[in-house]
Symmetry: C3
Subunit: 131 residues, 3 copies
Amino acid sequence: MKSISIKTHSQFCMINITSQIQNIVYESGIADGIVRVFVPHTTAAVTINEGADPAVVKDIIKELDKIVLLRDNYLHMEGNSAAHIKSTLVGASEMVMIENGSLVLGTWQAIFFCEFDGPRQRKIFIKVIEG
Amino acid sequence: MKSISIKTHSQFCMINITSQIQNIVYESGIADGIVRVFVPHTTAAVTINEGADPAVVKDIIKELDKIVLLRDNYLHMEGNSAAHIKSTLVGASEMVMIENGSLVLGTWQAIFFCEFDGPRQRKIFIKVIEG
Amino acid sequence: MKSISIKTHSQFCMINITSQIQNIVYESGIADGIVRVFVPHTTAAVTINEGADPAVVKDIIKELDKIVLLRDNYLHMEGNSAAHIKSTLVGASEMVMIENGSLVLGTWQAIFFCEFDGPRQRKIFIKVIEG
């Protein structure tokens, strides 16, 4: 298992981690298999979406913030319940197939770490599995 | 890794791909393991839900369209930001366990390709892993 | 493949199943690998979120119930379309990495079975994979 450390700089952001994950796959020496990405936080998530136009992630962040209200008489006293709910909706893990040592992603796909309660120091766990 | 090609015929639809995935599992000859389904698109997704009553997928499609507004002053100029957001909410991959060569699904479960920005030609990647 | 049986006692609830999954990992004797959790129901789900403050799951349940309307002229006659939609948004499966026989979870993370149409008798399938 490998780990990536990330420092987020705003309350909500999505950070493209595709090249870091591709590097870990290269270093593993595994040509065919699956890479698993796991976020060990309850107010963050990981998703796959468009990496070409940065407007897409801005739209995702803004609309998620409309869907899950930031303040809504939540019981959790830390004030970050919206971030917990987004974390459950987007999810803590992703998997991508590997062929010939490369991530099998569509033309527009990139892997994003999603920060919903930053800025914070965050970690991402990665495991490359042969097969 | 195997691939399925799908032609979608409307803007929003959910297509039951369970039997196609079951066939790929049969052809793999793998009796026990896991099958992984991955959608290499950023305006589509894959989910598991009820395959018996076609009203269920109609309700899912209609309600998702209420939750994620189709037009909302999005920055992404292609006009399909809602599809990108639904893709992140529903997710690009699923996994199903395999026992005795068969998908281990609940009585009502089926695997659906979700089109959020059709009609389009789409692909689905499938990997069967022993274990 | 192992199975857990759960009896839910209300319409909406989230039940912490972390220790049951950790026990299945111990019993498997597998020190390094991945555990896969799968819910074979279309009106339930599995998620990873905060296990420390019980207010967090209450907030998640309440806000999901706002995001997906319980009654909305749904076509599905059983009256549980909202539960089906939540199931697709939260997802039917999770995976957690294993190191030295233990689940690799963040400080605040726990694995929850999500009931969206209870009370019911439910099952959860678990598969521990070495690697």
